[in-house]
């Protein structure tokens, strides 16, 4: 089905993309390469430039400089031809609220140049696949957030384009709707579609994406599989919660000799954490030293790093705090 995708050629590529909005530089030399048939996660806080990148790939914006290609077509020069090769589902489910679910899909089908009867058949088929058959003849304004998102995704799949862009497909969804969205994305991957999805949720990229690019302030700052990114932070982490908040400083100095790099302290939750290769073996020493120093431990664990740790290590700031500030 990937008619325009050739082997060995990236399905999506960007070289040195720059995009300014007034004085704000949304993209600042953004690079990306996505192999055909893979799910690629673009991970970053609000305002990092994820949506701007997607808008350039989907021909909605022209870059100020740099080069972007999707399915072998230039995003600026071949914009019109490219539009029949891509699907886009946005972060604010772009459906017509006054039309019914079926009418929405039929309209998009006919705009993809399907004959009326084919567009109708395809709409009914997709409503069935996305569990919206019962709501097919209700206006979309009566749909829940999760249903709208599914309808929006269905609209982007009318012609099953070889390359699909999902901009924050689960933002604002309740946990159950998020899980069902994840299942849909998994199915699409199995069908051979190349998927670029943006997300602020670290566990989402970890779960869904074959490869991940971490993006911050308009640049790609790291690319790799989730495991590769995690190993950049230094393998396992020791994490412990103190019984008393007053022990924080003493605990940090007691922990320091047993770990690699700096100790991260969260005073509010009385938590300390730090990277430590062979964390499990060193745990015994940590417990002995803390015991000797009379520092009470409430909880103690060794865990593999999360993408949150990756983000903090790579950018010097957390993903969440930036998202809240924006």
């Amino acid at each position: 089905m990937t008619t325009t995708l050739e082997h060995g050629r990236p399905a999506i590529s960007a070289v040195g993309l720059v995009k300014n909005f007034g004085k704000t530089r949304a993209l600042d030399g953004f690079d990306l390469e996505v192999a055909p048939g893979t799910v690629f996660g673009l991970l970053g806080p609000n305002g990092a430039g994820k949506t701007t990148a997607v808008r350039i790939f989907t021909t909605l914006l022209e870059p100020d400089s740099g080069h972007a290609e999707v399915a072998g077509l230039d995003c600026v020069r071949d914009a019109h031809r490219l539009r029949s090769q891509i699907g886009l589902a946005g972060q604010y489910a772009a459906v017509d609220e006054l039309l019914t679910g079926r009418e929405n899909l039929e309209m998009v089908g006919r705009l993809y140049r399907l004959p009326r009867a084919r567009a109708r058949a395809r709409a009914i088929d997709l409503l069935e696949q996305f569990g919206l058959s019962d709501a097919a003849n209700r206006p979309a304004r009566t749909y829940s957030g999760g249903m709208r998102r599914r309808l929006d995704l269905a609209a982007s799949l009318i012609v099953t384009p070889p390359v699909l862009f999902l901009d924050e497909p689960t933002t604002g969804l309740d946990p159950r709707s998020r899980l069902s969205m994840w299942e849909l994305i998994e199915k699409l991957r199995e069908g051979g579609t190349t998927l670029l999805l943006t997300t602020q949720y670290l566990e989402e990229a970890d779960y869904l994406a074959d490869r991940i690019a971490v993006i911050d302030r308009g640049r790609t700052i790291a690319v790799g599989t989730a495991d590769e990114l995690k190993s950049q932070v230094g393998g396992e982490r020791i994490e412990l919660t103190l019984a008393r908040g007053s022990d924080l400083d003493a605990a940090a100095s007691a922990l320091a000799p047993h770990v690699d790099g700096s100790v991260r302290i969260d005073g509010e939750s009385r938590q300390l954490s730090a990277a430590s290769a062979n964390g499990a073996r060193r745990l015994v020493d940590v417990v002995r030293d803390f015991d000797a120093a009379g520092i009470g431990i409430e909880d103690l664990a060794v865990r593999r790093p999360t993408l949150d740790d990756v983000f903090l290590t790579l950018t010097g700031h957390g993903a969440e705090e930036e998202a809240e500030a924006a």
């Binding site: 089905m1 008619t3 325009t4 808008r55 989907t58 021909t59 909605l60 914006l61 019109h80 031809r81 539009r83 029949s84 090769q85 891509i86 699907g87 886009l88 946005g90 604010y92 489910a93 772009a94 459906v95 017509d96 609220e97 006054l98 039309l99 009418e103 309209m107 998009v108 006919r110 705009l111 993809y112 140049r113 399907l114 395809r122 088929d125 997709l126 696949q129 206006p139 609209a155 799949l157 012609v159 099953t160 384009p161 070889p162 199915k187 699409l188 199995e190 069908g191 051979g192 579609t193």
Partner: protein, 277 residues
């Protein structure tokens, strides 16, 4: 998903654009989007009701509140004078709806979806302007009914009445493109409404809609006598009352055509660059 994947491959290869020409698809897309906007009308009855009540209110207020105080040339009743003004004002204010609709499509992200599709760049605008033409026709018909009830007595012949109606429809279409341009430029639904009042109130009141321009101070009179709304009102009024129309007829048509020629490319240009944020 496997069934849908097969369909997709087949579609991607068939490339329908080679089977039909550019004009075919422009028309097809415009039909799809006009159908869409027409479906909106009965599903948003509040809009239809309020956009009809407002002009009816104007007819009644001007007819009975101001009518007695406004001096007209002998032999013309105020209600006969007034109706053309209210028709044109209603059609002018109808262009709000087009602007609000475009701003709504921007805000909900629908324009993003449309712009990412391999479709005509003018279809969304054409769909809105054509469906608003249908809605305006309905509103004008209701007002005509109310006008007849309060004493409006058109004396023009069939051809003249047809000319008046045709001009109103042409104006509705032309002003919808201005509304669409404002909607795409301003982008925010509430702001589009306020912006509409700012340019439409002076244009409709500083005209021959409710009072003869001869009663205005010289500077204002010069503006009122030479702006499009006055030409359109005078033409509609003369035709509906069976009075010789003079230069107002062709001036009104030239203004409407001129507005279309300027604002169609302008709004399409704004649409191409529109960003939903």
């Amino acid at each position: 998903m496997s069934a849908s994947t097969a369909t997709g491959g087949e579609l991607a290869r068939s490339d329908p654009e080679r089977r039909h020409g550019w004009l075919y698809w422009q028309t097809s897309d415009a039909i799809v989007l006009t159908e869409r906007a027409l479906r909106h009308i009965p599903r948003n009855p509040e809009l239809l009701i309020f956009s009809t009540i407002q002009p009816v209110m104007f007819v009644l207020l001007f007819r009975y509140v101001f009518g007695g105080a406004i001096r007209l040339p002998p032999g013309v009743s105020y209600v006969n004078y007034l109706m053309a003004g209210v028709f044109v004002q209603t059609v002018a204010f109808g262009s709000f709806t087009t602007g609000v609709g475009m701003a709504q499509d921007l805000q909900t992200g629908l324009i993003d979806r449309f712009r990412s599709l391999p479709m005509s760049r003018a279809a969304v605008l054409l769909g809105r302007t054509l469906s608003d033409l249908v809605r305006n026709t309905f509103t004008v018909a209701v007002m005509l009914g109310v006008g007849l009830l309060v004493g409006f007595n058109p004396q023009g012949g069939g051809l003249e009445i047809a000319g008046a109606i045709g001009l109103l429809l042409l104006m509705s279409f032309a002003f919808s493109w201005v509304g669409a341009t404002v909607g795409l430029a301003v982008r925010n639904v509430e702001a589009v409404q306020s912006a509409g009042f700012i340019w439409l109130f002076p244009l409709t009141f500083a005209s021959s809609a409710f009072v003869p321009t001869s009663s205005m101070p010289a500077g204002l009179r010069a503006f009122a006598n030479n702006q499009p709304i006055t030409h359109i009102i005078n033409a509609v009024r003369d035709w509906s009352l069976g009075v010789p129309v003079g230069s107002n007829g062709w001036l009104a048509v030239v203004w409407c055509v001129g507005i279309v020629v300027v604002f169609v490319p302008l709004s399409v240009r704004l649409y191409r660059r529109a960003a939903s944020t």
